[in-house]
Amino acid sequence: MFTPDLLDKSSQLRRKWEDEVKRTVEKHADQKESWTTLSDMDIKRLYGPEDIKDMDFARDIGYPGQFPYLRGNQVTGYRGKYWTFRMFSGMSTAVETNRRWHYLLQAGQTGLSTAFDFPTLMGYDTDSPRAKGECGKCGVAIDTIDDFQDLIQGIPLDKITTSMTINPPASVLWAMYIASAELQGVPLDKIGGTIQNDMLKEFIAQKTFMCPPDPSVKLISDTVEFGTHHVPKWNTISISGYHIREAGSTAVQELAFTLRDGMEYIEDATRRKGLHVDQFAQRLSFFFNAHIDFFEEIAKLRAARRIWARALKERYGAQDPRSLWMRFHTQTAGCSLTAQQPYNNVVRTAIEALAAVLGGTQSLHTNSLDEVFCLPSDSAVQIAIRTQQIIAEETGAANTIDPLAGSYFVESLTNQMEEAAWDYIHKIDDMGGMVKAIERGFPQMELSDAAYKFQRQIDSGEKTMVGINKYVEAEEQVNIPIVDIDESIEEEQLRRLAAVKRSRDSRYVAECLNDVLTVCKKGDNVMPTVIAAVKAHATVQEVCDVYREVYGEYRDPGIY
């Protein structure tokens, strides 16, 4: 990166500076001995040319839209288009969530993102005994395509992209979307959106699972294959580090496990489906956390792009430049928020969102200040979305592409993150891949260790959380309006479901479900039969019960 002459001068000046530091510290000791990132990476007092002297500009940095894509995929950066303001929302019934969606679109949101309630997430209907007490609580309840139609009422599917945070029943909810598009008369090559559909991180972190790891990955490859041939603009997997981080991982673990998950999906789709990586890699998207350690997060996001581009090119032989692009959504860190002095959460979220933007995110959700207590209120959501608009249009953060490139510190930290992530990736390769590593409990245990260590650091005061272990207000009165989901929602949803079950052609539903069963047993792609089943008003659980019957059920091993 630098001429020998420059490095020589730098090292002379550095020695002089180091001598002065030594003298100063002898008189005035530093406030603390070790300075680390949130994830315990050691940080030096100062970075200089010598920290990045081994970098090769063309190989390691380059320009936007050029390998290794460190500086972003888009050649125009945010000037052509800001990131998508995509707020995650969903609550109670489909009608109520649809109302929130129209509110968000009118407030300037540019994409939709769906939160489902736990029964839907786990593939149970509202009338299942397992679902009792959960209906509509932390997302919208969807049992049949009738609910889905209410959800997307008045949303033009050819103009607005929708992301659905759904995992084990992803194929079923996606089938409902596809069937709805057909009913709206929108051709499938015009619809765009995302299904999360990332089961590996469920076993690692979020624990929303249904079938064991291997068949879970098979179902995902079915959607990848179907999307490749029929719904070319759909992102069939959103490979997610968000939940891994929320469950307590370090930044490096988030980066490494997420990217290794992505590699597993590539390997499965090429092996099981015979697809070429360039046929589908550009439809894989990612989802990261933006936590509170500003530079660590920026470095993580920059490193993610470079690792992915290198892996796709070198490990998987991708030729199409778009296959090398890592496109990602980011959400600010829910786990960084505090119930104590909750208005401080606005500040945390703003800083985290800025890190996401400086890291080059394509899409962003900003958390609301009240999410530690309940689902966000309209007014809290408004502050969260305004935070994004302020960053985009007031701060100047979007003026220039990758503004921190070339910073001795940021480049050095980016390199450090990449190196540490590759170490994990190779370790998991040696275990035989991520499914095998999960079966051994490896990533789960790594997360448990990190989460426990962090909690101990908070309890001991080694790390600070304002309002939790420092600057605590005695006798704090918190006055946050709580959004309460009425218990009567469950009865209403039960009535709706019962009405659909009464009015549909039961014999035809049974035939459709039998077709799904046949296809599952043969190992063929489930999507066509699932689309037919949901059109016949089969429920989410009815389809998922077929999956459970054929593939078996996975139980949480309870590793801690």
């Binding site: 609580k137 786990c335 505090t338 119930a339 989460a451 309890d459 218990e487 949480d556």
Partner: protein, 133 residues
């Protein structure tokens, strides 16, 4: 010398947010309790059955999905029906203040929210829960 405290950490319902439950399980183990953690997605019936079979002194329920008002009282009701209401039940997760009174009424002895230091929880247990005879 009295025997070690036996604790069941359980996640009722469909919620998968297990970070808190697992951190507590470790903290309790370090505190010297015997810890049983049954993983996510337990029904109240499963939890009550394990609590009785394993003869625990304390059940710690964790729920972040909003379904606590239904799930927590189910566990205490089932324990009572089995004559095991001397097992102390405490809860944690995202439990709004306004729900606390009804949960206490239903037999949830203590509720710990986000940001609670581990020592505050073990301190409460050491003061309030003794090994059952």
């Amino acid at each position: 010398m009295s025997r070690k405290l036996r604790v069941l950490i359980a996640k009722p319902g469909l919620d998968g947010h297990d970070r808190g439950a697992k951190v507590l399980a470790r903290a309790f183990r370090d505190e010297g309790y015997e810890v049983i953690y049954t993983g996510c997605h337990q029904t109240p019936e499963m939890i009550a059955a394990v609590a009785i079979q394993e003869d625990v002194d304390l059940v710690g329920l964790s729920c972040l999905s909003g379904a606590h008002n239904y799930l927590f009282p189910q566990v205490t009701r089932l324990l009572k029906e089995e004559g095991a209401d001397d097992i102390v039940v405490m809860g944690g997760g995202i439990i709004p203040e306004q729900d606390h009174a009804a949960l206490h009424e239903a037999g949830i002895a203590a509720i710990f929210g986000p940001g609670t230091p581990l020592d505050a929880i073990t301190g409460w247990i050491n003061d309030n829960v003794k090994p059952r005879d």
